[in-house]
């Protein structure tokens, strides 16, 4: 019983992490159709932003303030990834719309450049981020069952991001403009929407959310120039399985993969578990090529 409770929580936690890394991609790939191989590097940028923020607090601010660095780091990593995403869109991506293979290669190259840039600035070895003390330890549910605060925090953060995105996309004016452009670009342009500006903002928001993911992942994972490569495949899997272009699909896709991953890993081994999960995804996509939530729209044909 205790074991199953722990595992259920672990599955949920894995799902929340998957969702967090896939949310940004759900926008840049899901909505904008840019096969963004540099998505992992935006996660990396977010992680280094957290490291920088921590360094500022350690070096130049009183020690008692240290616990406050993390919320600020989340904001900072969003802003930094947003800015770099915006720059990337205006200087490169916008020339590649509608050319999936070119954008795949170009963003992959951008990813490599960003990796090497991080290596030149911060050095090749991993850097350490000390997580704030208020996230140490865990919630003791019953004997032998501990829910670590960090994982609870990530679950909370994901819910927050998801809600914010939902309200932005479906309930706000800029979000409606974004939807209009993604659904029927020409018509939206005719109605006076600046599609250029919408494109840049949308891509930047996707990158910014990847930054938040990177910042959160410093709590439980490594921080180095190549961490993006650890997450990029999973992120694409979630978006493809969920159905390209649907937020709800991404949510269900992440939950499905996370839970399956936990179960298979528990029953078999980590390597075999991963293989089985991929097999399930491939089989499922054979049956439903559009993913869990297919969007029916003429513009997407």
């Amino acid at each position: 019983m205790a074991l199953w409770l722990t595992q259920l929580f672990n599955g949920l936690s894995v799902s929340s992490i998957l969702l967090l890394i896939a949310l940004g991609l759900a926008i840049t790939f899901g909505l904008m159709r840019v096969i963004n191989m540099a998505h992992g590097e935006f996660i990396m940028i977010g992680a280094y932003a957290a490291y920088l923020m921590q360094k500022i607090f350690q070096d130049s601010l009183p020690g008692s303030w240290f616990g406050a660095y993390f919320p600020l780091a989340i904001v900072f990593s969003f802003v930094l990834a947003f800015t770099i995403g915006y720059l990337l869109e205006t200087t490169l991506i916008r020339f590649l719309y509608g050319r999936p293979l070119d954008s795949l290669l170009a963003t992959w190259g951008v990813g490599l450049v960003l990796q090497q840039l991080a290596r030149s600035i911060f050095g090749a070895p991993n850097v350490g981020v000390t997580s704030p003390s208020w996230l140490d330890g865990g919630l003791r549910v019953m004997t032998g069952v501990v829910f670590p605060y960090k994982r609870l925090f990530i679950i909370g953060l994901v819910i927050l991001c998801l809600l914010a995105m939902y309200f932005y996309i479906y309930r706000s004016n800029p979000g409606r403009r974004m939807q209009a452009v993604m659904q029927n670009r020409d018509m939206a342009a005719c109605l006076g929407i600046s599609t250029r500006r919408v494109d840049s903002t949308t891509f930047a928001i996707g990158s910014g959310i990847a930054g938040i993911a990177g910042c959160a992942l410093t709590l439980i994972g490594p921080i180095g120039p190549t961490i993006g490569t650890n997450y990029i495949i999973d992120a694409f899997m979630v978006v493809v399985l969920g159905g390209v272009g649907k937020l709800a699909g991404t949510l269900v896709g992440a939950l499905g993969i996370g839970m399956l991953n936990m179960l298979f890993e528990w029953w078999t081994t980590a390597s075999l578990g991963k293989v089985l999960v991929f097999l399930c995804i491939v089989a499922f996509l054979q049956w439903k090529p559009m993913g869990l939530f297919a969007v029916r729209s003429r513009s997407l044909d």
């Binding site: 090749a124 981020v129 960090k150 120039p225 997450y231 936990m262 890993e265």
Partner: protein
């Protein structure tokens, strides 16, 4: 389309010819003026790779050696520091007048964390640059990729990292530990001091798999018990399920052969699950001072490691080594076992060359037998039979400041035994 294609390919071929002509031009220039090649080590691999190749490499007062590590890609995390240590040793030797009166000139190449690239660059270093020897490699995969190249071209490789044993190439010198200088004594020590129930956790590739095969045979012979064995893909970052499995298996010891980023994830998540070094003993063979810095010392505090050298190892040579390393590369840098092994490799090669009185690979190999060096880890000696070196084994505990405190050492250097021939229980493992 047909015409455009033809035109394009003609241009392409023409371009290729021009480029080839330029390339050979460069080479000619290099041969004409060997003084153009600078003796100072250059940090950029592309610089040193371009155009310096003069066929008569060993003329003009310098001798070329190759330095081949991953300077980009996932393994750059570990290998860049080893390259730095090797360049430090080369600088020190040059400052003292070089080898056989010649200054050592490093040719730095990037293996890019890609095993075929290692083989390709090794071939380039031997055939084109005509280097006297190569220092390089980290992963067993990169060594296995380079091995046939060195054997075919009769080159010489110095490999600086602890590895899984079961190998002894006539063209490779191994300055890191083989299994009986790290893993086997560590398991013995754990059985004696920490308990019988072992859980083996490793990354899914050749080193952990082979190491665990040896550990399982050893446990069986010495009355230990295996309660679990688990491999995770390289770059795996979620250990919650594995930690639950470990908790369910209740081992006395987790023997950890994870490599790279996975260690960070495993130890961070272990701490979050409320498990400290007091609740569970772990011993790692891939975490040294450098890795500890990236994981966070507060997370690793109290966990055990096994190596041959720590930055805190108390010898006069080590004091100078750490001082010089920090002076050259920054006071925030740390030294660790593979870094030291890379540094030692350069000195051992230089000593063997001096003894042989020649840069010829066969003569150096013959002379290397019994060559001694007062290394930072203590005195090391080259074993002439298997070309490994005699090293002292040390088990240490990670401290809050990221340094490692030695708990136990083997007293004297251990004779390398890559095939574990002197251990009865290991019979049949090398098959």
């Amino acid at each position: 389309m047909g015409r455009g294609w033809l035109k394009g390919s003609v241009i392409l071929i023409a371009l290729g010819m021009v480029l080839a002509a330029c390339g050979s031009n460069n080479n000619n220039q290099g041969a004409a003026s060997p003084s153009a090649s600078s003796p100072t080590p250059s940090a950029s691999p592309s610089e040193s790779a371009s155009g310096e190749a003069s066929p008569a490499a060993n003329d003009g007062g310098t001798v070329k050696v190759g330095v081949l590590h991953s300077l980009s890609g996932t393994m750059a995390i570990s290998e860049v520091s080893v390259k730095d240590a090797e360049l430090l040793a080369i600088d020190e030797i040059n400052a003292k007048g070089g080898v056989l009166g010649k200054k050592i000139e490093p040719v730095i190449e990037d293996g890019a964390s890609d095993w075929p690239t290692f083989a390709e660059k090794a071939r380039k270093l031997i055939s084109e640059d005509k280097v006297a020897t190569v220092f390089g490699g980290w992963t067993s995969a990169s060594r296995k990729a380079m091995l046939p190249v060195f054997e075919e071209l009769k080159g010489l490789l110095w490999y600086p990292v602890q590895y899984e044993g079961m190998e002894s190439s006539p063209n490779i010198f191994y300055t890191g530990a083989t299994t009986n200088q790290q893993i086997v004594p560590a398991v013995d020590w754990l059985l004696e001091n920490k308990g019988k129930k072992f859980y083996l956790l490793g990354s899914d590739y050749v080193f952990p798999q082979t190491a665990n095969k040896i550990i399982k045979a050893q446990l069986k012979a010495k009355g230990g018990e295996l309660v679990g064995e688990e491999y995770t893909p390289l770059g795996h970052t979620d250990y919650s399920t594995i930690i639950a499995k470990i908790q369910a298996a209740k081992p006395d010891v987790v023997f950890n052969t994870l490599n790279g980023d996975s260690n960070v994830a495993f130890f961070k998540q272990l701490k979050d699950a409320g498990i400290t070094s007091k609740d569970l003993t772990t011993l790692s063979v891939s975490i040294a001072e450098e890795e500890a810095r990236g994981i966070g010392p507060d997370i690793l505090q109290g966990h055990l490691v096994a190596w041959n050298y720590y930055q805190t190892t108390d010898t006069p040579e080590n004091k100078t080594f750490v001082e010089n390393y920090k002076k050259k590369y920054g006071s925030d840098r740390v030294t660790d076992d593979p870094i030291e092994a890379g540094y030692v490799a350069v000195y051992l090669w230089a000593a063997a060359v001096e003894k042989a009185g020649s840069f010829d690979v066969d003569k150096v190999k013959a002379a290397a037998k019994g060559v001694e060096f007062n290394a930072p880890e203590g005195k090391v000696t080259i074993d002439g039979d298997n070309q490994h070196i005699l090293k002292t084994v040390r088990i240490g505990e990670l401290q809050a400041d990221g340094m490692i405190k030695e708990l136990w050492n083997s007293g004297s250097p251990v004779v390398p035994d890559p095939y574990l021939k002197t251990y009865d229980w290991a019979a049949g493992l090398s098959k």
